[in-house]
Symmetry: C2
Subunit: 306 residues, 2 copies
């Protein structure tokens, strides 16, 4: 089913204990659409870049079934740029530089042919921009999935709460869930957040996996234990892209299928961190993904013999 | 099958964000034997207390099938005492006071009837004391399970490595695994540690669950998401007690059964943190435990539909 994804397309400069990468392609919507493209096509992208964004990268996205009609390319302007350095344990990072560039005045324009998506993924952006997307749709999608971050809770809480109220699935990390709810216990946090609008909450815990909360059910998916994490950048967005892509492919919004979507999202994220940036996500096969999901089954499967 | 457990029996004073408890019963072997007693009896305890240790608590332990013949009660001396305060997030704690008391010169004496245990659980203690236990056994147990901590890696690494070399299952937390191996990745850490002697490694990650590593298999068990963690003290020991108790009950050392043992250990730990000290562990029923294990099945179970 049709999927519309909105978020940043950008350049990142990244330092991790494993190495350094300068001005590689990044951005939430890049990871989201790439991950989702393995499950459903076309993926409609709405975003903005400057004329410094390489044509070859855009062609690669198109080759993956990502429809770029909604990507604004602003002449004479520069793409969003972020530089960061990860700590030794990869669990924390420092932002070294942020250049908003084209993002400073980003006003998303949804092409007419994109205005009836069955699935909508709102990547992390100013809540007002996320709202602008919702406002341009001709009808409500079957499923609205939202990502956000602490920064918007600190600076734009009212408009964020309005967007959350229109969301079906909120996908945030554990610290964001704690800040949003004011509760340390993720169980209590989920109870509060599910009263804000979403019927489903996914809490990403990075290397510690992800929790899926429905109205009266909890599901836990681990992260795959890896010998080496190369670069965690984009793992959360890749998770979200795999999650919503799988749901769009299967068109089944039951809790049982949401569980599978969390596993597929986790599988895609486990690929993401194996190389810098989007490198590992560029050329996966269905067999690669199936094998990775099998690894998750093996990792958690047990016979309780009750 | 017969189980021998060695470790501290002590008093703890504990402050958590949920409240305060003064001089309550604690100690690694207390939690271990209590958790194990739900699976196998008798549990033979080897430890030491002073004459300040309440008779009523000893009677309670005996009522649970814990054999105290190996518990030294030293007249005119005081029991080991620890006081600590947990941080707001419960993931870290500060030690406020440690009084070794009877533990300073603890020389474990294994009663003759305990010297052929099929299962041995060596709780966290000076490696030299753990070695003294091994030296007094008439034959090698079928399974030796060892717990230790960073402190011994800093102060007694050589004797610790000797004990580890005689161990079948090492049960430590993530930070300890990283320090012992010098590897941040838990996958790499497990590879190194499994070359030190143990054939199986359990890495406890607190609220993030536990990993079980065999020679070529990995299993992950989550911690149960709880609305309220009252007091994390003893959760790791309770996990170890449930783990080894289940193995002693089932007498099956296959990886499949080790997986179940990790789940039972996690279930027991999830009870432990619901109240201060050993309170919640005192009067569980088989139904309570079965229901808790069912909650774990529900939490991680999914049909991948591959």
């Amino acid at each position: 089913m049709s999927l519309l994804a909105v978020g940043t397309v950008a350049f990142d400069s990244i330092e991790t204990p494993r190495g350094k990468a300068d001005r590689i392609v990044g951005g939430a919507a890049t990871y989201i659409t790439l991950a989702a493209s393995y499950f459903t096509r076309p993926v409609h992208l709405v975003s903005v870049v400057g004329d410094d964004f390489p044509e070859s990268e855009l062609q690669h996205m198109q080759s993956k079934g990502i429809d770029l009609e909604g990507l604004q390319i602003l002449e004479g302007e520069r793409s969003f740029f972020w530089a960061g350095r990860y700590h030794d344990n990869m669990n924390a990072r420092d932002t070294l530089e942020t250049q908003l560039n084209v993002l400073a005045d980003f006003d998303p324009v949804i092409p007419p042919s994109f205005r009836r998506p069955k699935f909508l993924m709102l990547g992390n952006l100013t809540p007002a921009v996320q709202q602008r997307v919702l406002d341009q749709l001709d009808e409500r999608p079957r499923l609205v999935v939202l990502d956000t971050m602490n920064f918007w809770m600190n600076t734009a809480m009212d408009s964020l709460m309005e967007v959350i109220a229109q969301t079906d699935v909120l996908v945030i990390n554990d610290e964001e869930a704690r800040q949003l709810s004011g509760e340390h216990s993720l169980v209590k946090a989920s109870e509060k957040i599910l009263r804000m609008g979403p019927s489903t909450l996914v809490i990403k815990k990075g290397e510690h996996g992800a929790l899926l909360f429905g109205s009266d059910s909890i599901f836990f998916a681990p992260a795959l234990p890896l010998s080496e994490v190369f670069d965690p950048t984009g793992a959360g967005d890749t998770f979200a892209g795999g999650f919503v892509g799988y749901l769009a492919q299967t068109a089944d919004l039951s809790f049982e299928n949401m569980k599978r979507a969390v596993i597929y999202g986790s599988a895609m994220a486990s690929f993401c961190v194996e190389r810098f940036g989007i490198e590992r996500l560029k050329n996966l096969t269905d067999i690669d993904i199936k094998k990775r999901v099998e690894a998750f089954v093996k990792l958690v499967n047990f016979d309780a013999q009750l």
